[in-house]
Structure formats: structure tokens, C-alpha cells
């Protein structure tokens, strides 16, 4: 049954990749990549149970954190053009 859930998650990741390649706007691509990252968290968790090593859950937790930060970073980059804008410099 873990294998069946894993196959479902893998199919979803494939669909998300197709949507990321096909998406007309940059927001469609960010949405698809964000969904791909969430499904990666699920895949790591299910793979850990499938292999009998649930210690993989630590990796899943770290990947969930990194995925959210990455999504927000790409959104900010697509909005402002850079990530490290210094607001104080605009006052001078």
C-alpha cells in the first residue's frame, strides 16, 4: 500500500512538472514548482516508511521548510528583480 501511495505521488509530481513547463505565466510555473516541492515532502515520508527507515522524516521536515522559503524567495525575485535590496540606500 505504501507503494501505491508512492505511485500516486509520483504521478502527481509528473503532472506538476508538465504544468511547470507548459504554464503561460511565471506565476503558473511558481505554483507548479511549489506543488512539486510539497509532493517531494510526501514522497520522502512515504519512501521512509516503505524502506522501513522512518528517520527520513527529518529530511522531509527540512525540505518542507526550504520549499516554503524558496517559493517566497522566487516570488520576491520575480517581483523586484533582486533578493537583497537595501532600503536604506534609497533614502540617501
Amino acid at each position: 500500500m505504501f507503494a501505491a501511495a508512492m505511485v500516486g505521488v509520483l504521478v502527481t509530481m509528473l503532472l506538476a512538472l508538465v504544468a511547470a513547463v507548459r504554464g503561460p505565466t511565471v506565476y503558473d510555473r511558481i505554483l507548479a514548482v511549489n506543488m512539486f516541492g510539497t509532493k517531494t515532502v510526501l514522497l520522502i515520508a512515504v519512501a521512509g516508511f516503505l524502506a522501513g527507515r522512518p528517520e527520513f522524516l527529518d529530511l522531509a521536515l527540512v525540505y518542507a521548510l526550504v520549499n516554503f522559503i524558496g517559493t517566497i524567495a522566487v516570488l520576491k525575485f520575480s517581483r523586484f528583480g533582486n533578493l537583497g535590496r537595501d532600503d536604506r540606500r534609497s533614502l540617501l
Binding site: M1, T25, A45
Partner: protein, 130 residues
């Protein structure tokens, strides 16, 4: 492990995988970006929640169950937040909303056509066969 717990875990896992696949199909087939946000949100909350609850029912130790709860809470907190940020950024950038056919106007036009072309039925009792 009892059979009931294991079968409940299987049901949760299969339902979660099904929700994930349905959301992936919706991501490809929805007409505009905002509807696609909805399809991706289904997989982020319902699909991930069902799969992780299904794993929780088979957790060998309490620590692994707690880790699963932490992952699930974080995903439920972060998925809608990222979706909202994306939605707001796209709306501020002027991504067009898909407008389908105006069904209300079509129905109204059909109703007026029916009332105009509708002729009073001749009464059958008066029709005398020759």
C-alpha cells in the same frame, strides 16, 4: 498491529494519493491561473493531510508520530500562505481572469424566445375529424 488500524491507514493513504492525482490533473486542465491555485491548494492540504494521517496510523514509535504531526502542521500552515502570496502577486501583476460564456444571458435569451414563439395550443375537443 490490529487489522482495523492497518486498513484505516490504507484507506487514508489511497484517498490521499487520489486527491493528489486529482489536483495534478486540475493543475493542467483549469482555465486560468486562479482556478489552478485552487487545484494546487487541494493537493497541499487534503492530499498531504490524508497521506500523512495514513502514515501516522502506522508510526512505530511515538517520536515518529510527533514528527509527522509537525510536518503536517507546517504544511497546513505554509501551503495556504504560499498560495495566498502567489494569488496576490499575480493579481497585482494583472494576470487576466478567465471569463467563460455568459450563461445567465444565454438562458434569458432562450426564455424570451420561448415566450415569443409560443403559440396557444388549439383545443383538441373542438377539432372535429372530417
Amino acid at each position: 498491529m490490529s487489522v482495523a488500524l492497518e486498513s484505516a491507514s490504507w484507506i487514508f493513504l489511497i484517498a490521499g494519493a487520489g486527491f493528489c492525482v486529482i489536483g495534478g490533473i486540475g493543475l493542467l486542465r483549469m482555465p486560468d491561473f486562479y482556478a489552478r491555485t485552487h487545484a494546487a491548494g487541494v493537493t497541499d492540504t487534503m492530499g498531504a493531510g490524508l497521506v500523512l494521517i495514513g502514515l501516522m496510523l502506522q508510526a512505530p514509535t511515538a517520536l515518529i508520530g510527533i514528527k509527522l504531526v509537525i510536518i503536517l502542521g507546517f504544511l497546513w500552515l505554509v501551503g495556504p500562505t504560499a498560495g495566498h502570496a502567489l494569488f496576490k502577486a499575480a493579481y497585482a501583476d494583472g494576470v487576466k481572469i478567465h471569463e467563460g460564456p455568459d450563461i445567465a444571458a444565454q438562458v434569458a435569451a432562450e426564455m424570451t424566445d420561448e415566450t415569443n414563439t409560443q403559440s396557444p395550443d388549439p383545443e383538441d375537443g373542438d377539432a372535429v375529424p372530417d
